[in-house]
Subunit: 641 residues, 3 copies
């Protein structure tokens, strides 16, 4: 299929006299898609019920006249000020009880039924008016659900919806009490109306209560989104997308994906690295102006899987875009360095190599006012080309000779499960335990061997296509996954904390991991601080977490005499959180056993196969020679394998 | 007397079909005491006024049938949800004004008079029903007063009670204004009803106001507890205890002790060390799976003194238990490592060596649900023995040949004063000043010499039994203590900050320390950050704090030319917070002068005399040879002296 | 003119029997001024409308009888408790919505119109009664505006006043929407009454909104102060002062200065250094008991300029005092070390060298009660002389042979702009960007060359007296400053971030810096963390911040190939935040070009010219020999040039 470039554009922010020239330059630059309108509610409906579509009609028309395709965003992430007069209680409430005010964006509570009504109204208006507009090529619902910690709200609206959700789920209060173990500490309820939200408790709330609240909150996002997609679909044949934000796990992206034709995500590699708590200072320094060399790839692979939900295709066939690609410094990270020359091109090519249909930059022209004054665009505020301009132009030229980057099924699969992130955030048992980091560590280990990886949702029911499947930290295996594992002949790498919880968030009895084909019992777990590790007899260490497992099938030990790795048949269970040295060793041995062709990649150089092309992507600030090929700093090299 | 083992058990959390088997195994393991019921209010009184005692009757009967003795807890730390409908304002309020909600435990305000009524009611019901039950061997009131920062509440209930308390204390508002120095910054009140609580002030509140609030809050705990003990005593001959939590200083444990026959405390050595701010990383690493080698001993000696309050006996005769002994990893510390094999036994023997009557493990079986899912028990969640099981069994066997560990009067005494902790928390004058740490530093110095220590309350009136008495940082000497010091012939080690405040929390004039028999004036004090020290001429340093003292009796100087140690007759005054090197030197010299037999103990090895037995306790993760005896890692050795 | 010493005194805090003796000792010590009454409202007006002036009459009379001159403070920083009954909503509200309570000081909202009325009343009473009292030599309004973060309040009173202020400023809501760029994120308002305060927003609020709130809040302080000065001036010929607090930038001190004859500030050198986030640990250790060697000088030079506002004189002629001079340890810093012997004298002489009319110590006698119990005075709490006593006496003797320290016009000027601090706090774009620190870095670089510096307000219209003018980080150049720069022939050192914002807080187009006579465009900026720097080709580095500037006039490059310094004619633009090494090099070259006589000063030794005297001030804890002169630790040396 044809890959393309795009850009985010805000016609309402500029004098109409420049629209024509902007559109002309976009087309000239080689852009195909232009996303608009997602923050323009106050211009679409300046007063309750009074709509003004003229400017938007003209804007779409102007873009279309230049051959550009419009992605039309619903504006529900930024309700106008007048909406607050109507629904003073529509604002979300933080965990300390503070109502979060008007004056930025995402100032709404997913659970507020009144606000949902008004969202349905504006979306209906848009869908009816633009649903069949020939220039409207796709839709976007809202903007970056969950961004700015907006999924969990401790409002009256959320409490009431949560009580209803619980009543629906448990049917009887006794069932809930039993499921949560509320006999503990006399927490038993007599009626669903007695149940509050799990904030401001004296000490830790019941983790089962928290987990249900997390599930509920995620489902609120899903139903909020579905309300919009059902309306749009009634009136428009164009595919519907949402732009997920990177490293956000507060709702289940797979579940939202069920209602979308296209998954898109917003890729800010340098902002994410600056903002990431767990990267070391040395790592952040080395990749300061490039971003982490695995972080974007992880999300590309993740959203490829999210994009496959609705069509039912497997991970290869998922439709996905980068909807917002960082083109220069951003404004929101702790520090905001300028990307190295070449990165704006490199990031695009990396996305295409992973299967993106479209890479769309954020934003066309840097705004001289308001919150994103310091966020770079393809143009400077004075309309002169910013550094990214020429890089985008180059990508556009290169796309004409686009190598055939049709999807490649990887041989390695990693299961990624949003609910597990909630589980281990709810009950980390060690201050720095992070499911995301554990999964990402595993992902990086395979990448260091130059391997492609598919990311799979936790309800995957067929694993036969893969030679290796890793599922570290998946808290509760789904019935589908258990069945798939029982049938699977490839190598499984599970643990630590895999299948450690029941659906009720209790400890399973028999004790974990209860993996098909593996005789093993996690008799005890321990966590320890970052300056302590447990050395493994064969090299490397456990960090943060170790499990004392009883099994007759131990194949590797810790130096202090406990099992480190269990293996029975094709199933491995890793008894702790392995560091890079240990992971490299273990993952290499799995790859060799399955006869995967591996290459030990130098620091910052990554490899991605796409169709019969191989991409080498150099995130380093210096040139790297690998396999006889020299790739300059911040550059990408492709060749037919 | 006969020492014994016990366990905490929650029959309401398990299917009744396993009670019998549980009781049988407890008895078989060698346990004597079983604490139950302290969190079971929702099962005792499922709805207001409707009681269900049957299950508890049967539970006690089952345990008793196997020869086990029951410690019965009042359930007032966990009022059921329906209590909130009755008293919506019974919840405590934190210093930022947030009401602390239902859904965990300790969700009540000590000052709420309505809740107190309902506590009296349930306690009366229990006392009447079980007061003379032959299996009920002891009572426990509530659970871990103060845990989760529950002593200080900024509620309306607290404000109103505080105003009454102040009116009672000062009688006239002018007296209060004078005592607090309210002329300063125009803070004068015209009526007690004008006085609020000392939170959310623009800058520091008057420290005298804060200190009175601390005293008031502590007395609220005392009267809350006394309400229960008076009821129980009316109906039951069994002794009454409360389980104090370690390193908690928010109320005066001695004052609560006045109303209890037995002091107990909850010993979580590894949790405490992980959670302790001031321990160095190296120290935490070395003792990661053992706990601090002095921390438990300190509390044992402290609660021996608390346990002596009601009987009027001296520190040797105090009745005390460990009510909750960590048997494996806990769930609540920043990190939760697994204890080294041997520690569950070592901790028990250390407690017995210090005089404990009973060591009771928390808990029998690990729960598979709710907040403490990850807290180990003697049994695993699947009822298999956890690692502690065999260690407990061994202690039970060893207890049969129990060495005579009858109490030993120590030669060294350390005065510990809760009010001083409030004083220096209220006015640290240097960010990291900590009374607890100062007292503990001194305690450890004596322990490093292999000496036994008695901890004394601040109102002690007779010191004659001791050769050395240390009272660092005791903010205000009581009249009793002053009289005792005036008569005392042994060596006194005072300072820094000893007797630095009047009862009104003012600076005394003449200036401190005003110690009997010591001519000295603290002319000035200074605090400094952790990376600065003041070297002493004879070795070691002052850290955090130094006082410039004028005295003709200086016996040691700092290198920058100020007095470091004053001595006149038997009284020493230390002019700063001495580091370990300086303390070792000074304490050794005191011990030599008083002809105490000392031994410089290796790191992590500690010595305790009990009767004519000497215990050597090895907290190290490796064997230590001392005095010709090799003690394995995490082991204890005893021999007749 | 005659320089003099003073002290702060609280007669209401002491038994009247000691007043006479206190006054006698003050005079004997050589003090001239005594500031009183600024916290005594509850004694002046014990109940609403009932005044008690007798004690104050007697107190002034007693001081006057001993030849002392009184500085009379209005007590509006400490309204009595009864004021709250009248105006329960007069308390300020913090950014999280917590009302800040009674019980310390500054518990009022600048925007509360009712409280302003009552301030006018008490000030009128005082001005009428004491306006012509022969002993009243000066007035002080309130106390330390802004201290304890009291400028920004999120109260209803502030919201309502802010809406009025906006309506006044913008006249139409459309004008405001355009100015702020509210089309962004649909933030458009339909009426001024819809505008709230910029706290508790979901993510970053519009920076233009925040900046207007900052301007408004500063103007509230100005008008609050002016209310008092207008009343006092009606009744009294004595000059009016306010005591500004060091390192406070939350309101524009120059604007308040327009209404005052004398600027004073409160100098706590050791407290400020302990409290200062950005000083390195090594620096803090070295100057632990002395304070930063440039910090006081900076404020002296700043307040000399503030003191010149009302008279219209230039910076040399500004009247200013140190109203509160630290004499020993304070009570409020993170740590509170004791000053080295000599510092209480050194600080006074440094102030005189910079032109102070009066240095007044805080306080006469250390209080034994209330919040400042641990704050040293000239006397100890027991009335014995504290260490500062003899140092003050020595200064008093030395003042008799006072060298002629009449003002010296410096050759170097630094523009300091409070609004720029608000600008870069509102939009730092890098976590540790600090305008104050950037300006202070530049100030220190000139000081390290032994140069005198004048600090200038941002509306300065004549720069001709200076050879070098530095204006780093001034966000928006005033029309006056732009005109002055256009005419200026000396060397200009601008950048980074100079003139980077319009008055509307937008990015200017053409892009910055738009400096007269300089062809240059800031095409892009970047920020980076503290462990990253950008090396300059000629030595030194950029830290925190770097700009990519397009200009044909580049004279220096970074090692990574971008302009580091632009120079066209007399105008330099520095393209980043230079470290000390780079600044030293650049500033030295500027000084040499303008033929300024420079001396590279050793660490901690500073030089100040005053009239034809040169002062050498040694902040080191050791003696320093410079230019053949040995200055002992913590000492000052003066000689006629």
């Amino acid at each position: 299929m044809k890959r393309a470039l795009g850009v985010c554009y805000y016609p309402e922010q500029w004098n109409e006299t420049v629209w024509e020239e902007d559109a002309r330059r976009m087309a000239e630059l080689g852009l195909t898609y232009v996303r608009i309108a997602e923050f323009a509610w106050s211009r679409m409906e300046p007063e309750p019920g009074r709509y003004d579509w003229d400017w938007l009609d003209r804007s779409i028309e102007t873009l279309g006249r230049h051959g550009l395709k419009v992605v039309l965003g619903t504006p529900t992430a930024t309700p106008p000020r007048w909406m607050l007069d109507k629904w003073p209680d529509m604002l979300a409430v933080d965990s300390l009880g503070h109502q979060r005010g008007f004056g930025s964006r995402r100032h709404y509570d997913f659970s507020h039924r009144g606000y949902r009504q008004d969202c349905a109204k504006i979306v209906t208006e848009m869908a009816v008016r633009y649903g069949k507009n020939p220039h409207v090529a796709a839709w976007q619902t809202d903007n970056e659900y969950a961004c700015h910690k907006t999924v969990l709200s401790y409002s009256e609206a959320a409490k009431s919806a949560f009580q209803d959700w619980l009543a629906q789920r448990y049917q009887s209060i006794d069932a809930l009490n039993r499921s949560w173990g509320n006999v503990f500490w006399s927490m038993e309820y007599r009626d669903f109306s007695e149940i509050g939200l799990p904030n401001l408790t004296v000490t830790e709330p019941n983790p089962a209560w928290v987990m249900d609240f997390r599930r509920f909150a995620s489902e609120e996002v899903v139903s909020f989104n579905r309300l919009q997609t059902e309306i749009i679909r009634k009136h428009s044949p164009a595919p519907i997308s949402h732009n997920y934000m990177g490293q956000v796990t507060d709702f289940d992206h797979f579940d939202v994906g069920d209602d979308l034709e296209i998954a898109t995500w917003d890729a800010y590699p340098i902002g994410f690295l600056s903002d990431r708590g767990f990267a070391s200072d040395a790592h952040k320094r080395h990749f300061l102006r490039q971003g982490d060399p695995d972080f974007q790839a992880f999300h590309h692979d993740l959203y490829r899987a999210v994009g496959a939900r609705r069509s039912g295709k497997d991970a290869v066939g998922g439709r996905w875009w980068v909807m917002e690609q960082q083109p220069g410094p951003v404004n929101w990270a702790p520090w905001n360095p300028d990307p190295l020359p070449g990165m704006a091109r490199l990031w695009a090519w990396e996305a295409f190599a992973h299967g993106a249909e479209v890479v769309s930059y954020f934003r066309w022209r840097q705004a001289p006012f308001a919150q994103e004054t310091m966020h770079a665009g393809i143009l400077r505020p004075d309309s002169a080309p910013a550094p990214a301009y020429e890089e985008v132009a180059r990508v556009a030229r290169e796309l004409k000779d686009l190598p055939d980057v049709a999807g490649t099924k990887a041989h390695v699969a990693l299961v990624f499960d949003y609910k597990s992130d909630w589980a281990w955030t709810t009950q980390p048992q060690g201050r720095d335990f992070s499911y995301f980091r554990l999964a990402f560590d595993t992902y990086r280990a395979f990448r260091r061997l130059g391997l492609d990886i598919d990311i799979l949702p936790p309800d995957t029911s067929d694993l036969t296509a893969y030679k290796i499947v890793a599922l570290p930290g998946v808290a509760t295996l789904t019935p589908a996954m258990k069945a798939a594992l029982a049938d699977y002949k490839g190598l499984v790498l599970a643990g630590p904390r895999t299948n450690a919880k029941t659906e009720d968030f209790a400890t399973p009895i028999p004790l974990p991991p209860n993996l098909p084909g593996l005789q093993a019992t996690v008799a005890r777990v321990e966590s320890f601080p970052p300056d302590v590790t447990v050395p493994l007899a064969l090299g490397g260490h456990f960090k943060h977490w170790r499990e004392k497992v009883e099994s007759p099938h131990t194949v590797e030990m810790t130096l202090d005499g406990f099992p480190a790795l269990i293996r029975q048949g094709n199933v491995h269970y890793l008894c702790g959180w392995a560091d890079d040295e240990a992971l490299d060793r273990i993952v290499t041995s799995l790859a060799l056993e399955t006869k995967l062709k591996i290459q030990h990649m130098p620091q910052g150089l990554r490899r991605r196969t796409s169709g019969d092309w191989t991409f080498l992507i150099n995130y380093n600030p210096h040139a790297v020679t690998h396999d006889g090929i020299t790739i300059p700093a911040a550059d990408v090299h492709w060749s037919r394998s």
